[in-house]
Symmetry: C2
Subunit: 312 residues, 2 copies
C-alpha cells in the first residue's frame, strides 16, 4: 500500500505507533509541538538533511538502515557539542507511490538509533515530493557543562579521535563499484557505529574543541583549525588499517589512507585536549595542534581530496 | 552566481551573514549545534516542511516571501502550544543551479519573520537536491505554563479564533487562476499575518485546547474534536467576508465561505475556552463545543472540502 493510499494522517498514525517515548519526552508526537526536558535551562539543537541519490540509495540500504544513518548524523552533532541527545524531529518528503511499509521501517530505524542514547523521535512533518528527503533535527542536554565549540584548540594540544574513520567510505566505494562485500565495510556504511558517549566524556575531561567527522576527517579538522586559528597535523601512523580494508583497497586499486583521512559518515568524534594529561577512555591520539593555519598529514600538505561538498 | 559556484561553505557563510541572533541564542550558527535558552527547563519543538510545487511556487512568491511563509508555519505551531518561539533551524535542499542570491533572500525572510517574535535562525543544513525543499524546526519557551494541547476541549465551551482565515486560500486561488489582484489577498498568501502573541495569551487565560490553522479551519478543528472526544460546531455568521474577498469570489464563481472555513495557511489560532468568561484580547467567538463527534457548520454537516492532505 502506498503512502498516497493511506494518506498523510493515516501514515502519521502508523509511524507514530512505531515510536517509543524516552525519559526526556514530556509530550510526544500528536500535537502542534512536542515538549522535551531541558534540565539545565538550555537546549542544544542541530539539523542534518539526507537526500536520495545524494546521501543514500534505496538499493544500497534498507529503510531501517537509512533511518539509523539519518539519526546518527544528527545525534553525532549533539554529542560533538559535549551534550547528550534527548529528541529528534523528522521532516519526511516522499513520492506518493512510496510503499507505506518503507516509511514505517524508516521511522523504526530512526527511533531505534535514537534509543541507543535514550533519545526519542518526538515530532515531525510529512509531505509528498518528487525527491525522497529526510531532514532531522536533534536536541540535546549539556548537563550543566559549557558547549565544546570548534574554536578552542591551542597550539601544543593533542588531537584525538573517538570512533573509527574510513569504514563507511570504504563501504560506499565498494557499493558504488557494484560489490556487496566485505560485509563488515558495507554494514559500516549502512549503519554507522557512533561513539556518542565519547562526546560528553570529552567535555567533562576538558576537551578544548570538538567536531563530528561527517564530511571527511581532514575537511572537518579544517573547520577546527579555521575556527581556532591554528594548524593541525595528523599522524598517519596512528591509523591502523584493518585487514579487510587493506584487502578491499588493494582489490580496487586504492590507497586505504584516502578512506581513513578523507572519508566521512562513520561519525567519529575529533577533539583537542591539553597535552600532558591522559586522554579519556575511548579517545586515541592522532595528531597535534601547531601555530599556523591549515591541515597537514605527517607535517606535509595532503594532495588528495579532503572530504565532500554538498553542492559540488 | 549559482550555489554550486560558491559551494556549500561559501553559501553557508553568506547566509549566516544575513541572520541576527536574538536574546535567547546562547550559541548561534557555525558549530555542530546551536545552544538556545530554555528558561523553564523544557523546550517546545515542532517541524514543518515546504516543498516546491506543493507548498510554494517561485513564480508566485519571492524568496523572501517563501522565507516568511516557512518561518510562519513553524512559529505558529509553537504559538499554538501556548509558547513563545525562540529559535529556528533550517534544512535547505536546492538544485545546484539555484541563484545564490535567492538562497540569501530566503534566509533573510526566515530571519525577519522570526525576529517578529524575538526568535532567531540558529542553525541548519544545506544539500543539493532536484527538488527545492525547506524544512524548518522551531523551538519555543512555555514560560512556566503547561502546554495547551488538542485534547482538552469540553462540551459547553466556547470555540474562538485569533487571526484570520480564508485570505491566504483566496490569494492562492487567485494566483492559481492566473490573476495577481486583489493585491491584499495575494499578499496574504505570500506573507501570512500570524497572531503569534495570541497563543501565550490564550494559554494564560485558560484555553483548554488550541491548534494552528494550517491545513483548513474545519480540518484542523477536526483534530481538536478527535483528540478531545467532542463535537464542534462553527457559526458561519461569525465570519465577516471582506468586500475584496466577496468580490473576488463572485468574479471566480466561488463561495467565499469555502475559503474562510476550509482554507489554511493564514495560520490563525483556534482554541476552546470555558464558557461564561470573557475571551482574551485578540480572540473572537466562532462556535461551540458539544457532546458527540465531528465538525458541523451551523449545526449541519459541511458538504465541501475541509482542508488539505499532503499526500493526496
Amino acid at each position: 500500500m502506498s503512502i498516497a493510499d493511506i494518506g498523510e494522517f493515516g501514515l502519521i498514525s502508523r509511524v507514530v505507533a512505531r515510536l517509543e517515548n524516552g525519559p526526556k519526552v514530556l509530550l510526544g508526537p500528536g500535537d502542534d509541538g512536542a515538549v522535551v526536558a531541558a534540565p539545565d535551562g538550555r537546549v542544544v539543537a542541530s539539523t542534518d538533511v539526507l537526500v536520495e541519490g545524494r546521501h543514500f540509495r534505496r538499493d544500497w540500504c534498507s529503510a531501517a538502515d537509512i533511518g539509523h544513518r539519518a539519526a546518527a548524523a544528527n545525534l553525532a552533532d549533539i554529542a560533538a557539542m559535549g551534550a547528550e541527545p534527548t529528541a529528534l524531529l523528522v521532516a519526511f518528503c516522499a513520492p506518493p507511490d512510496l510503499d507505506a511499509d518503507w516509511a514505517e521501517e524508516l521511522a523504526a530505524g530512526l527511533s531505534a538509533e535514537a534509543a541507543l542514547v535514550g533519545a526519542s523521535v518526538v515530532g515531525g512533518d510529512m509531505s509528498s515530493s518528487p525527491t525522497l528527503t529526510i531532514a532531522v533535527t536533534a536536541l540535546g542536554d549539556l548537563g550543566g557543562r559549557p558547549p565544546v565549540r570548534r574554536g578552542g584548540a591551542q597550539p601544543g594540544e593533542i588531537l584525538a579521535i573517538a570512533g573509527r574513520t574510513g569504514h563507511a567510505a570504504a563501504g560506499y566505494t565498494i557499493l558504488s563499484r557494484g560489490f556487496r562485500t566485505p560485509k563488515a565495510l558495507v554494514e559500516a556504511y549502512r549503519r554507522p557505529q557512533v561513539p556518542y558517549g565519547a562526546g560528553p566524556v570529552a567535555a567533562a575531561h576538558g576537551a578544548t574543541a570538538m567536531i563530528d567527522v561527517s564530511d571527511g576527517l581532514l575537511q572537518d579538522l579544517g573547520h577546527i583549525a579555521d575556527a581556532s586559528l591554528v594548524a593541525i597535523d595528523v599522524h598517519s601512523a596512528a591509523f591502523e588499517v584493518p585487514s579487510q580494508m587493506r584487502d578491499a583497497a588493494s582489490a580496487l586499486g586504492l590507497d586505504p589512507l584516502q578512506w581513513l583521512l578523507a572519508g566521512g559518515e562513520d561519525h567519529a568524534l575529533a577533539a583537542t585536549f591539553p597535552a600532558g594529561e591522559p586522554l579519556p577512555a575511548g579517545w586515541a591520539e592522532i595528531g597535534r595542534v601547531y601555530d599556523g593555519t591549515g591541515i597537514t598529514v605527517d607535517r606535509k600538505p595532503w594532495s588528495g581530496p579532503v572530504g565532500w561538498d554538498h553542492f559540488r
